[in-house]
């Protein structure tokens, strides 16, 4: 059955792209040739044929026992993210045996249940005659889709039997309703007797008790104050104890320091004694023997002794120093802000770029930030009629021009914009002045460079005017100097970009240098556009002449 329904759909999608968008699913394809067929194909519909390998992967995925336990909507979402089309996903679901009509392990979330029923509705509608859905020509909410096909089917059947069935149904229905009401009434009465009355009694008892307690409380209030005073005293005592303890710690630290210093002093003393000892030994030996090799050996020993005695000192100092350096380096590395996996993390992460960690901390503690006001933003009159528009809708720039036209479309739009502003406000408001210039420059550009004028050049023109070098005394030398530069430029550009761009770039450079060399007072950006165009054309001609 599955393979049979596959092949006609595959044929349909490849043979008849003209059919309308209602042909999304590949269920019984014959009925799709109904009134819904629009003359032009919609580009917003997937017209790919089903990929069998993708469907197979999806079937394997769905057959996995762990996947079976997850809600349907997550399985669909996963497959969608993997790039499967709707048809492929539906086909996979159809192939996997025993697809759950509703969620097997339904999460308690109401929204998810809604989603699952939606998905099951979609799933069911895929297997039902799609043409009938189209015929009904309504835009119902998704859950009602499941009801519609059976309703339509029943409507297509014999109407008379339905009519009598309906009347019988009515009677039966009312009997049932009455019965249910009676039972519920009896049930509530029972509930009242069993639950409510004792509750009332206990409530009354509670009230009475409360009154007694209130009286007791009043009596015990002074004791409360005493207790609080005692607690405060205890807290103060504890604080003083803590202070004492910290004081003691500080003292002990000082003592330790002193001990350490004393130890150092003793070591120094020992060192000195050793020195003097060795000196005396040397003297003695020097007296007994002559000065010679031994002195060197002793000197080395002496040095070694010095080193060994000094080592622990330096090591101790070094350890002390390394400690704080290490600790200061770790926050520096931690300050590398983590790349937020989702933008929500940026708000909730305590470090890094998020400026609002403070707010989140307050929210988590349950506090309300102090600057929030209570505002009633409900409409004072929900039936307030809308005011009449004072202006007719304005045409969009892309509506006035044919599609895919990069530059020519601006002309009309710009004219309407400019003229409107001229009527109403001061001539040339700051945002219009620039606008006019841009279009005029680009008009010239369209004349000179018809296509693929890169946008990169525009900011060069607008924001940076190359400073004019002093007029050149020897234009020939300047030209000679210029030539190798232009060739280098050409090489660089062709390495990276298209040839067309490269030639344009070099022409521009030549143009710019030409203007500056001529020592003219004209700039690229400023001045009147009319002069610009003639200048540019002139320079171009000059440029071509030179070559």
């Amino acid at each position: 059955m599955a393979t049979q329904s596959n092949t006609p759909s595959a044929n349909l999608t490849t043979e008849s792209p003209q059919l309308s968008a209602s042909e999304i699913t590949q269920a019984t394809g014959e009925d799709v040739q109904d009134a819904k067929a629009s003359p032009t194909p919609s580009v917003f519909v997937n017209t790919e044929p089903m990929r069998e390998d993708q469907v197979q992967n999806a079937v394997n995925f769905l057959s996995h026992p762990k996947v079976r336990g997850s809600p349907v909507i997550y399985r669909r979402s996963f497959l969608e993210r993997k790039g499967l089309t709707k048809e492929e996903i539906d086909e996979a679901f159809r192939r996997v045996p025993d697809p759950p009509p509703t969620a097997t392990s339904a999460p308690p979330d109401n929204i998810n249940q809604g989603k699952i029923s939606v998905l099951s509705g979609i799933f069911n509608s895929c297997t039902v005659n799609y043409g009938q859905l189209a015929l009904t020509n309504a835009l119902p909410q998704a859950p009602t889709k499941v009801l519609q096909p059976p309703a339509a089917a029943s409507g297509a059947g014999a109407i008379s039997t339905v009519g009598t069935a309906r009347s019988r149904f009515h009677w039966y229905h009312t009997l049932l309703a009455v019965g249910v009401l009676a039972v519920s009434g009896a049930g509530t009465a029972l509930l009242f007797k069993n639950a409510l009355v004792p509750r009332l009694k206990s409530w009354i008892r509670k009230v009475v008790l409360e009154e007694d307690e209130l009286a007791k409380k009043l009596n015990s209030k002074p004791s409360l104050t005493e207790e609080t005073a005692a607690a405060a005293k205890a807290a103060a005592a504890a604080a003083s104890d803590v202070a004492k303890a910290s004081q003691e710690m500080v003292n002990s630290k000082n003592e330790e320091k002193m001990y350490f210093m004393e130890f150092m002093n003793m070591l120094d003393a020992q060192q000195r004694e050793m020195k003097s000892l060795s000196n005396s030994i040397r003297k003695l030996e020097g007296q007994s023997k002559g000065l010679g090799r031994n002195s060197f050996v002793e000197q080395e020993d002496y040095r070694g002794a010095v080193y060994t005695s000094s080592k622990p000192v330096t090591n101790g100092k070094a350890d002390f120093d390394v400690g704080p350096v290490r600790s200061s380096s770790s926050p520096a590395s931690a300050e590398q802000p983590p790349h937020p996996k989702s933008y929500m993390e940026a708000i909730f992460s305590p470090t890094g770029k998020a400026p609002c960690g403070n707010i989140m901390a307050m929210v988590q503690r349950g506090e309300r930030p102090p600057n929030i006001k209570d505002i009633n933003d409900l409409p004072p009159n929900p039936n307030q009629p809308l005011s009449n528009p004072r202006m007719a809708p304005r045409a969009k720039p892309w509506e006035t021009a044919p599609a895919q036209n990069m530059y020519g479309s601006d002309m009309k739009a710009q004219d309407t914009g400019v003229t409107y502003e001229m009527n109403g406000d001061n001539p040339a408001p700051w945002w219009q002045r620039k606008n006019v210039k841009i279009t005029e420059i680009e008009q010239d550009e369209t004349k000179s460079a018809p296509y693929s004028m890169p946008a990169n050049d525009r900011p060069i023109q607008r924001t940076w005017v190359p400073p004019q070098p002093p007029p050149v005394a020897m234009p020939a030398a300047a030209a000679a100097i210029r030539q190798p530069k232009s060739s280098i430029q050409r090489d660089q550009l062709t390495d990276d970009q298209l040839l067309a761009r490269a030639s344009d770039g070099t022409d521009e450079l030549q143009r710019i240098t030409k203007i500056s060399e001529s020592g003219g007072s004209l700039e690229m950006n400023g001045g009147s556009s009319g002069q610009d165009s003639s200048e540019i054309q002139q320079e171009r001609e000059n440029g071509y002449e030179e070559h």
């Binding site: 835009l139 933008y343 202006m391 021009a401 945002w431």
Partner: protein
């Protein structure tokens, strides 16, 4: 270039489709986490500074706004408490809002008005749904419920009256046709959440998506397996992307790296300009439909900048 300081953190800015000198800014207190919101209506003056036409206060933050394409006085605000509020600028603030539509169960993250039919608008919410409304009805016309995570953005196609796209945290873009019961296309555009999408105004099958993975991808819906272009350059998640209403190949985007970037996706080296005028997350950006090259941006640094492309937004 003029600057406007808002009391709260900026979330969205949109130019009016009727008046060149008018724009609206949606702001939320305490970065939109908890607090009030304010909708500012601003006017650009030819002499320089931005003046405030008025503002509306809401009890919860405002995440997005859209202007009506039919009535120059109507603004629709997407509120963080799940409601959608409609404001009429011809009425004083005491008579506003004129409607409060509360159907979403979670924050409404975006609103978009249909530029072709001019009678309906979409709202997308963190409750995974997109809702279709008309101005005259008190309840939604339709609810589109297929995404499995927050829907961050919904955008109408500028040439087809019934087609729109939605970008969601479930990492897919969905193309919908209002006449169809379910989505017509599912594009698994990124590996991470997609925060924004927009259609190309001049190429009806070209759509742009911006994601937490710091990239902007340009897609052709006729061949959606491979993106037409991938624009890298932002240092953090790209929060909003908009296609230029005047140039087919230009896209503007704003990001959590505090910059606003202008791209030309048809060119190898796509980044045209980078504006780093904000000192906090740049969250909202818009290009004017009526004035070519005019753009506005806002961010959590409580500033709204309006400038011409090519000029420094911070220049006086």
């Amino acid at each position: 270039m003029p600057v406007f300081k808002t009391p709260f953190n900026g979330y969205a800015v949109k130019f009016s489709p009727f008046y060149e000198s008018r724009l609206a800014v949606a702001t939320s207190q305490n970065f939109g986490i908890l607090g009030n919101g304010r909708l500012h209506i601003l006017n650009l003056n030819p002499s320089g500074p931005i003046s405030e036409f008025g503002f509306f206060e809401t009890s919860d933050g405002i995440y997005d706004l859209t202007w009506s394409e039919d009535n120059d006085n109507i603004v629709i605000a997407a509120i963080a408490d799940g409601s959608v509020k409609i404001y009429d600028l011809s009425l004083p603030p005491t008579q506003n809002p004129i409607r409060s539509l509360h159907e979403h169960s979670r924050e409404v993250h975006s609103a978009d008005y249909n530029p072709v039919r001019r009678d309906s608008f979409l709202t997308s919410s963190w409750d995974d749904t997109v809702k279709l409304w008309t101005i005259d009805r008190p309840t939604s016309v339709r609810t589109f419920k297929e995404h499995t995570y927050c829907v961050y953005s919904a955008a109408w196609n500028p040439r087809h009256a019934d087609v729109f796209a939605s970008a969601s945290g479930d990492c897919t873009l969905r193309i919908w046709d209002v006449r169809e019961p379910a989505s017509t296309m599912i594009i698994p555009a990124h590996e991470f959440e997609i925060l924004s999408c927009d259609w190309n105004k001049y190429d009806e099958s070209c759509i742009v998506s911006a994601s937490v993975d710091k990239s902007i991808r340009v897609w052709d819906v006729r061949n959606f397996r491979i993106p037409v272009a991938v624009l890298n350059g932002h240092g953090y998640a790209v929060r909003k992307v908009k296609c230029s209403p005047h140039r087919q190949n230009m896209i503007v985007s704003c990001s959590y790296d505090m910059t606003v970037c202008m791209w030309d996706y048809m060119v190898e080296d796509s980044l045209v300009t980078r504006y780093d005028h904000h000192t906090e997350f740049a969250v909202g950006v818009d290009m004017s439909v009526l004035v070519e090259g005019l753009m506005a941006s806002t961010g959590w640094d409580e500033l709204v900048y309006v400038w011409q492309h090519g000029m420094d937004p911070r220049a006086p």
